[in-house]
Amino acid sequence: MLEGAELYFNVDHGYLEGLVRGCKASLLTQQDYINLVQCETLEDLKIHLQTTDYGNFLANHTNPLTVSKIDTEMRKRLCGEFEYFRNHSLEPLSTFLTYMTNEFPAQEVCTPCSQTLVTMFLRVQVNFHPVKRCSYMIDNVILLMNGALQKKSVKEILGKCHPLGRFTEMEAVNIAETPSDLFNAILIETPLAPFFQDCMSENALDELNIELLRNKLYKSYLEAFYKFCKNHGDVTAEVMCPILEFEADRRAFIITLNSFGTELSKEDRETLYPTFGKLYPEGLRLLAQAEDFDQMKNVADHYGVYKPLFEAVGGSGGKTLEDVFYEREVQMNVLAFNRQFHYGVFYAYVKLKEQEIRNIVWIAECISQRHRTKINSYIPIL
């Protein structure tokens, strides 16, 4: 292990680490959330958000204000911050940030006014590592395939694709009938090729197979990201590996839970589990055989970390498994800031900001639907 990380880290990454810590300090506090849940309308919410670090981010929007617009603007803001980090980063932080971009859904930053900015980014990035754009490309490919299934026009879907994930072969994605067609004819020369190699099959691209493809791609990506962090070593590996292991285990639990009562077979389900994490390999083998929530809980009871999480499901607050996993994720990401000189702070900040966006959108939904009983079901961060 390189002992001198504390000596060399700030040379290349000190400025950005300082910046991300400053951004983390601007996350909403408990008092901010108390003010937001008291809002009666979305306009009130907008006024309260103006007093936070969000400022006038909704100033250009005319009435009626909708939850969807609030969500889009918040994500655009986060993307802007992230792009700033990425454009000012040096290797290996740049590659780390590239791996992170798989977390963003395909519809980020996709408005006409941002097209010029995006074109500039693409020109700047032309000499950078091609893996940079692969995460957005995965989302775009899945979006296009789903659109083809729903018989939507390519033009309509292309308009919604992420500009940073565009590639010349994109328009041909919807004509591929099987994943091997997709790979051999279209994706073989794109950065997605390494992730696709584990997902090849001759089956037609229907809903089930697109779902399998999406999950296998994500599994490949997660395993590659984990390997990158592990090989990097140092404090980054110490902070990121447990976070990614938790992410892998969470995916395994959620895939299992959502597969009950569907046409997904147990064998197919097992192929979607990432091959690392606390559950790997015995826990995953048991999970693959689970047929209901109780059996899944029995598997979790073997792991000291997951037993209390499953016990917290239900209860008086009506928490779901996703809720308890989000809470655990927030805890781990907040703790990442307790150590210095590692890349995990960037990952943790983006995840915490995404949780903040989910919280605000949830509060906005409860306000717009006038359903205030569950308005306090957000997850406080600071």
């Binding site: 697109i210 959502n258 569907t262 997904l264 639907q369």
Partner: protein, 222 residues
Amino acid sequence: MAALDLRAELDSLVLQLLGDLEELEGKRTVLNARVEEGWLSLAKARYAMGAKSVGPLQYASHMEPQVCLHASEAQEGLQKFKVVRAGVHAPEEVGPREAGLRRRKGPTKTPEPESSEAPQDPLNWFGILVPHSLRQAQASFRDGGRRRELPGGLGSSCSSRDISKSHLEVDPECGLTEKRSGGRAGLQLAADIASLQNRIDWGRSQLRGLQEKLKQLEPGAA
């Protein structure tokens, strides 16, 4: 005497009208509650899956309905609504058509309905591995039924103010208002509401008619 009979008829009509109104209010409350539950479950699904994963990008612009509403004329000229699964013909439509196509030589191919394959479950628009909240949303909408424009132009007069208001405020861009998740029980509730409203409208017009007649018979009555 005629006036007395008229008054008795008027009273029974008013009682029936009040009874129908009470039943209508009860059904609307149930429908409102189910629809509100459904919308909240959709919000939970967006929380779990991502806001853009549950929206208009996931479904086609043109959809095949799973359940249809048939209007038929009942007694007194009132329209009655019946929920029918898509692709299934009402008995009176199947009979004559079959007789016309029967032939003597060997088995014949009777014409199949246009959409022979079962309509896709709308839940699959959002993927196979959807969270429980999305299934709950489907169940809520299925149990409560979505209020849509009904034959005879009754939709606007029948639609609950609460439903239309919550629909407009939630997310006009989301486009998930026409979730045709087809459960017969849910739509039957909506059909019952339409039938009730129809009966109430008919009752009101009868009431006005009787009041006019009474005025003519008893011009001095207050």
